[in-house]
């Protein structure tokens, strides 16, 4: 078995709430190789962010609890490391960009201070050198007038520029893996495209690996190499990006693709997936997607589908994955 750069192996996470135990992650496995981009796709509550937080070690525990599984970085299990070792992995090996840059940046420190903080505190750079490097990083993420703006505060930037600051900050320690947790959700559509282009460019130039977490299928097509689709705390489909777009092997993925508005389907009503994501305090029996699935049969209600290997690195957690792929249903 060849070693992956990062591997999530059979991860289980529960949240202990007042109303009971919510099984948020139920046996998630995925991997990331050096220099590639994996998109993790799913709607709110599917567990995509929680998995990322578990990788970063910033999951709130309690109420969260990792009950099973391993997270391997270069073959070492992050979950069994000492706190101090784990801290050193953060930022330097694996860095993260968060969704809402305004609340994710500290309001009372200048952006230059925040970008250069790790350089000063972890690499022992002098204040002047670290600030110079902060300006370079801001240039690299294409913030106009970086030199003048390095002493500005987060609230003085526009949403898109703030997200660029966030990205510059995550790049400060030259991480090998960048986790971008819905980096464009809080932004205008035009700005979204710019940020995605920037991330793709940086990943290429810096030869990082990237996990891109999103609920927007449209965002990932140009950027990702592979896609893992999550539903109710499990991976339901995993495939090469082109294969997945061309021919989804899970009804949920199919539903997501059909619900993208298309220019060539003008005048027809937009397809939607009916119903709501399940309450994970009381998950449905069998396949978690069966109450919303138009192909659901009796077996879907009684038996949880295993993750079927369809060949070519492609997997799907559907009893009828082969039929779906062949166009038989």
């Amino acid at each position: 078995m060849n070693e992956h750069l990062l591997e999530v192996d059979n991860l289980f996470i529960e949240f202990h709430t007042r109303d009971g135990v919510s099984k948020v992650i139920n046996g998630v496995s995925y991997h990331l190789n050096a220099g590639e981009t994996l998109a993790v796709l799913g709607e709110s509550g599917s567990g995509k962010s929680v998995t990322a937080q578990a990788i970063m070690g910033i999951l709130d525990m309690p109420p969260g609890k990792i009950t099973r599984g391993r997270i391997l970085y270069r073959g070492r299990d992050l979950l069994t490391m000492s706190k101090e070792e784990r801290r050193k992995v953060r930022g330097e090996e694996i860095a993260m960009v968060f969704q809402d840059a305004l609340s994710s940046l500290n309001p009372v420190f200048t952006v230059g201070n925040q970008i250069s903080e790790t350089l000063r505190k972890r690499k022992g750079m002098s204040k002047a050198d670290a600030m110079k490097r902060a300006v370079e990083l801001m240039d690299q993420v294409k913030i106009p007038g970086a030199k003048e703006r390095v002493k500005d505060y987060p609230h003085q930037f526009s949403g898109g520029m703030r997200q660029r600051v966030m990205i510059a900050m995550s790049l400060a320690m030259d991480p090998k893996v960048l986790i971008a947790d819905e980096p464009t959700t809080a932004l205008d559509v035009t700005v979204q495209a710019q940020i995605m282009d920037l991330l793709a460019e940086l990943r290429r130039d810096l030869n990082m690996a990237m996990i891109l977490i999103t609920h927007d299928l449209g965002v990932v097509a140009d950027v990702a190499d592979r896609i893992a689709v999550m539903y109710a705390g499990r991976i339901v489909e995993h495939a090469d990006v082109h294969a997945l777009y061309k021919n989804p092997a899970h009804p949920y993925t199919k539903g997501l693709l059909e619900s993208i508005p298309r220019l060539d389907a003008k005048g027809t009503e937009l397809a939607t997936i009916k119903g709501l994501p399940p309450n994970l305090l009381r998950p449905p029996t069998g396949c978690a997607f069966h109450p919303r699935c138009k192909y659901a049969q009796d077996i879907c209600v009684t038996t949880t589908p295993p993750l079927l290997d369809l060949g070519g690195g492609r997997t799907s957690a559907c009893h009828f994955a082969k039929e779906l792929l062949d166009g038989r249903i």
Partner: protein, 307 residues
């Protein structure tokens, strides 16, 4: 910024005149006979009465007397009905009350803020719960109970501190009253610190700081602390203004001739000039303290700008 300060100071001037006028009205409306109050139980001769009436313009009309007051106030010639220079009393009283306020505020910061931080970091633990109950009890005890109790325990029973304020030990004898005053704001400071700290501990930027691989000490000690301090410093600034106003009961119990104590005595004597002077000074202290707090707020939180 400069224009803002000027505007605030001009507002302060208006507030000052408004407040002194209101207090003047109240003293005037209170009636009473300051000359008889001066003499106590003894009879006052017609001659003495006429002289004092003349000296203090007691027969003039209300507005004339207010103007006389303003003139004397600003030229520093204001005399109390006892004939003493009002400002002489004010100086020593301010010093005393200032010292007590300083002791109280330092006690509040060192103990209250520290305990609040510890409680927030160990939220739901035994320390947090017990300190919450304790502060609730302390907030519930009025100073009329707390001051004599402290005096009895620390002064009489355990003899740790002097029982009363004495000139021979001007600092040591102020410690206990300072602590008593501090205890009252300490409880509030602790709860405020705890709430503010706890809110900030859960903020998104803390998650970001952690994911940068900073030590827990730096995340809490720099990122969280700096943000949590904003409401705490605001509270402490206003509280310092309150404490400078003097604590009538605490100063009374410990027999301290500070602002609270002297003001109380002057009210009892119907000593209009002294009362109004003290109140006017308190108004000035409040105006300045509030302005400083507001300016400090802009320094601490870059999102706030004044123009």
């Amino acid at each position: 910024m400069f224009r803002y300060i000027v505007r605030r100071l001009l507002q302060g001037v208006l507030t000052f005149f408004g407040a002194t006028f209101v207090v003047y009205c109240l003293m005037f409306a209170g009636g009473g006979d300051p000359i008889q109050a001066l003499a106590g139980e003894k009879p006052v001769t017609a001659q003495q009465r006429a002289a004092l009436t003349e000296q203090f313009h007691l027969d003039d009309n209300f507005f004339a007397r207010y103007l006389y007051f303003l003139k004397d106030f600003f030229t520093g010639n204001l005399k109390s009905y006892t004939g003493r220079d009002v400002f002489e009393n004010v100086g020593s009283a301010l010093q005393l009350t200032g010292k007590i306020a300083l002791i109280a505020i330092i006690f509040t910061i060192v103990v209250g803020v520290t305990l609040g931080i510890v409680a927030a970091l160990r939220r739901g633990g035994i320390f947090d719960t017990s300190s919450l109950i304790l502060t609730l009890v302390v907030i519930g005890i009025p100073s009329i109970v707390l001051a004599p109790l402290a005096q009895y325990l620390f002064g009489i029973q355990w003899k740790i501190f002097p029982v009363n304020y004495t000139f021979e030990k001007p600092f040591v004898s102020l410690i206990l009253p300072g602590l008593v005053l501090g205890t009252l704001s300490l409880a509030t400071a602790m709860r405020l610190t705890r709430a503010s700290f706890f809110d900030n501990l859960r903020a998104d930027y803390v998650r970001t700081a952690t994911s940068k691989g900073l030590t827990r000490f730096r995340v809490v000690g720099v990122h969280v602390l700096r943000n949590s301090l904003i409401p705490i410093i605001t509270f402490l600034g206003v509280e310092l203004g309150n404490l400078m106003g003097g604590a009538i009961i605490t100063e009374g119990v410990f027999n301290i001739p500070g602002i609270g104590g002297q003001l109380y005595k002057a009210i009892g004597l119907d000593d209009g000039p002294t009362v109004i002077t003290f109140v006017s000074l308190l108004v000035v202290i409040y105006i300045v303290a509030n302005l400083v707090v507001d300016l400090l707020y802009a320094v601490l939180d870059p999102r706030i700008r004044y123009e």
